[in-house]
């Protein structure tokens, strides 16, 4: 279990780093675009690049799942005893997994449609299928959805 956890953490850190690099690139691109736009030479297709970059940044967020960094209202659940807290967490985790499995399935079906129609982006004429594949992969529940089921956000056992 420890080895699996370490492997998942390593993989997530790599994705987190990629997202950080893409975010930094988006900052530079937006800055250059704003400056050049004022000088009368806007960067062609900057909007598309930002859209692609945004999807990468949002998609590579498994570390967020692992750290339980999402916003949760735990006013009531914290008042329960540890055993019941564990049960509630298991149920909510299972609900989250089911929701994301459903979204992943729909993304997959949509990606098949997009592949069939050969949808392209407006400026660069890039196929949009990689975006949908990316969204499909990030919607599929991964080990970090299930791991730390019995732990609080700080990683300590409850």
């Amino acid at each position: 279990m420890k080895r699996l956890m370490a492997a998942v953490l390593k993989g997530d850190t790599i994705l987190y780093t990629i997202a950080g690099v893409v975010l930094a690139f988006m900052i530079v691109l937006t800055l250059c675009d704003v400056i050049l736009r004022n000088l009368g030479h806007p960067i062609t297709g900057s909007m598309e690049i930002i859209q692609y970059g945004g999807s990468i940044v949002f998609g590579f967020h498994p570390l967020c799942h692992l750290d339980r960094a999402q916003i949760v209202v735990d006013l009531i659940t914290l008042k329960l005893d540890p055993e019941n807290q564990k049960k509630v967490k298991a149920i909510t985790r299972a609900a989250g997994i089911i929701i994301f499995l459903f979204i992943a399935y729909n993304f997959f079906m949509y990606a098949l449609d997009v592949r069939r129609t050969g949808e392209l982006t407006a400026s660069f004429k890039i196929l949009t299928i990689p975006l949908f594949c990316h969204f499909t992969q990030f919607s599929i529940p991964k080990p970090h959805h299930i791991l730390r089921l019995d732990q609080d956000p700080a990683g300590t056992k409850i």
């Binding site: 937006t30 930002i50 945004g54 949760v72 735990d74 949509y110």
Partner: protein, 100 residues
């Protein structure tokens, strides 16, 4: 049941779901999906989930997020705090009424 009634029930269910400890984003996805299924159809709601996800994550409006991060980084390094301290001490005075 009218659309408005469905909306009101949806909000009540959403607030109840928030208290269960389920992540807020998941609650909103769930309630939105069920509500749209109730009003339209299951296949329409399935398509809407995908379209909404895609449109939300690839919107150009998020350009401001990297810029906010850059602004935060600029505020973190000592140039801006030093500048604001300078303004506070030299520019706008040191009156406790203005700068508690």
């Amino acid at each position: 049941m009218s659309d408005i009634a469905v909306g009101i029930y949806g909000i009540i269910v959403l607030l109840a779901l928030f208290l269960t400890g389920l992540e807020m984003a998941y609650c909103m996805i769930l309630v939105g999906f069920v509500g749209f299924t109730f009003l339209m159809s299951f296949s329409a709601a399935s398509n809407l989930v995908v379209k909404d996800f895609f449109d939300t994550f690839t919107t150009y409006s998020y350009t401001v997020i990297p810029l906010f991060i850059m602004m935060g980084e600029l505020a973190r390094i000592p140039i801006l705090p030093r500048g604001s301290t300078w303004v506070r001490t030299n520019g706008l005075g040191t009156s406790p009424a203005v700068w508690p």
